[in-house]
Amino acid sequence: MEIVCPAGTPAALRAAVKAGAHTVYCGFADETNARNFPGLNFDRDEMEESIALAHDYGAKVLIAINTYPRAGAEGIWHQAIADAERFGADAVILADIGLLDHAARHHPGLRRHLSVQAAAANADAINFYGREFGVKRVVLPRVLSVPEIAAINAETEVETEVFVFGGLCVMAEGRCSLSSYATGKSPNMNGVCSPASHVAYHETAGRLDAQLGGYTIHRVGAGEPAPYPTLCKGCFSAGDKTGHLFEDPVSLNAEALMPALQKAGVTALKIEGRQRSASYVSQVVRNFRMAVDALDQGRPMPEGMLARLSEGQAMTAGAYKKTWR
């Protein structure tokens, strides 16, 4: 299986390819990608140089252009696709139908992957994208179990790529406006979710409140570590219940399921974390590369290698092991 690694900066890309990444994904430093955070991503020169560097190491580069274009400003997104092709990107990762259609017609030689932001969650939808827009690979939404992924692979020629490590969206990706409801900034339009610009911490009477857009969604004792207030992982009340009504503040680790995912016919394993440092990327990539090499050679996988790298401490196998179904 191919491992697809995050690179938020040229330094992280360099670290990933040196650590053995088969493939790296990254984005331009603007609203065309869904990790449009301050200080992250690549300007045009950096992208061109980084692609050349990755190719020198025999690694592929995928460029995520996976937000939904702003009406009237489509040119920014079209330019990003044209530049990706010009710089020699191995594929673009798109979510929007209009962009897929544009890329298929104007850049037919540029390989097209379907972003998780399109939330194509069944074989009919995936084959639709394959047929209509020549999509070669789909990044599956994080709502599917391993048997469901196997069933999809049995019904499609489109390659599948699944998230195995890092942050975890709780909602169907690309179909969530929680962030824009509370802060005005959305993943689909601005490439940001629960943005740091709208986070505030207030310490009063021995407790620390974490707020997003003025809404208090975490509360801990003063001095305790306060989790980042991501909306869907916040603490809320409904009826007589108070707690993490949507999801606990956990991150995904499907390391133990890698053999099952391989059997399910998955082509590529994706690691989340373009906001992460070069040293984190390097460690995660090295560990995953060892694991897939062991799998490919029929050796036992090294165990528990990634636990200490996870966000906070709590980890989950997510929907892959559907305990909540």
Binding site: A71, D124, A125, G184, N188, T242, F246
Partner: protein, 298 residues
């Protein structure tokens, strides 16, 4: 401007469901979208009442369409989606999976849960047979205006979310089941007890969201009372009203009155508040504010 009534987002009893459409046949709306949007497990409880509801609405001169599910993952859900396309009714596509089943050239409409953010997507959908697109609620007025211009050149009518709790997210996971400590497959239909969703409050006890099975909605009811002129000037063809369990006849009548110029925007707001449960909060921020929850008169 036309008035469209969107699908009931919640799980209502079969009789309440059928009564709602009987009453709606007499209300001053132009178009009604019927069917299950949120959870495939709910459909068997009222599916057999759909033909009668559609017939009554059509007899009353309403345009009708049937909605697809918003998130299709299971075999059963794919089958439901395929059957929808075979009904011979206009389908409102709320997950692109439905497009895979619609015959090439068949006219369809696009619901607010499909991501239509720019002209390229609109044009592709129009070429595929879309005649009407209800835009995602999070779009600002500038995008609405640009999309109406693109729609005009493609023979598509644009509809905008006018009133009701906003559909903010859809998930594979059921939050009603989670709230009651039950697995999704044995949810015991916990959502049935909350005909307008279960209120979700922040740790400051501020009303914020509402849970409706696998769907998450806003606490506020979106309300386009103060944007009607702006939307009409932009060339928006229809306003979508989303069903609520109380006072919905009055919501429809009040919007009709305002669009006909019979009542002012402030009178519309007053009538909407009077029709809704006490303390109902309104928002219009996605269209004209800084955040979705913002209210231009607040």
């Amino acid at each position: 401007m036309e008035l469209t009534v969107g699908p009931i987002q919640y799980f209502w009893s079969e009789d309440n469901w059928a009564d709602f459409y009987t009453r709606l046949a007499d209300s001053p709306v132009d178009r009604v979208v019927v069917g299950e949007l949120v959870c495939s497990k709910r459909l068997p409880f009222f599916q057999h009442r759909i033909p009668e509801a559609l017939a009554a609405l059509q007899a009353a001169g309403k345009q009708v369409a049937v909605t697809s599910l918003a998130l299709v993952t299971l075999k059963r859900e794919r089958k439901q989606t395929a059957e929808l396309a075979e009904m011979g009714m206009e389908v409102e596509v709320n997950d692109l999976t439905a497009l895979a089943y619609l015959p090439q050239g068949a006219a369809f409409s696009v619901g607010p849960l499909v991501n239509v953010y720019s002209a390229g997507t609109l044009e592709w959908l129009a070429r595929r047979g879309a005649t009407r697109i209800s835009l995602p609620p999070e779009l600002p007025i500038a995008s609405v205006q640009a999309l109406v211009r693109a729609a005009r050149d493609n023979g598509v009518m644009i509809e905008v979310w006018g009133h009701g709790r906003l559909p903010l997210a859809i998930s594979g996971r059921c939050y009603h089941a989670r709230m009651h400590g039950r697995p999704k497959d044995n949810c015991l239909f916990a959502c049935e007890d909350d005909p307008d969703g279960a209120d979700v409050r922040t740790l400051d006890d501020t009303p914020f969201l509402a849970i409706n099975g696998v769907q998450t909605l806003s606490d506020t009811h979106a309300c386009a009372a103060y944007q009607l002129d702006l939307l009409q000037e932009a060339g928006v063809g229809a306003l979508r009203l989303s069903p609520q369990s109380q006072g919905f006849d009055e919501v429809c009548a009040a919007y009709r009155g305002a669009l006909d110029g019979a009542i002012t925007d402030t009178a519309l707001e007053a009538r909407l508040r009077a029709a809704s449960p006490a303390g109902t909060r309104l928002s219009d921020g996605f269209l004209t504010g800084e955040t979705g929850v913002a209210w231009s008169r607040g």
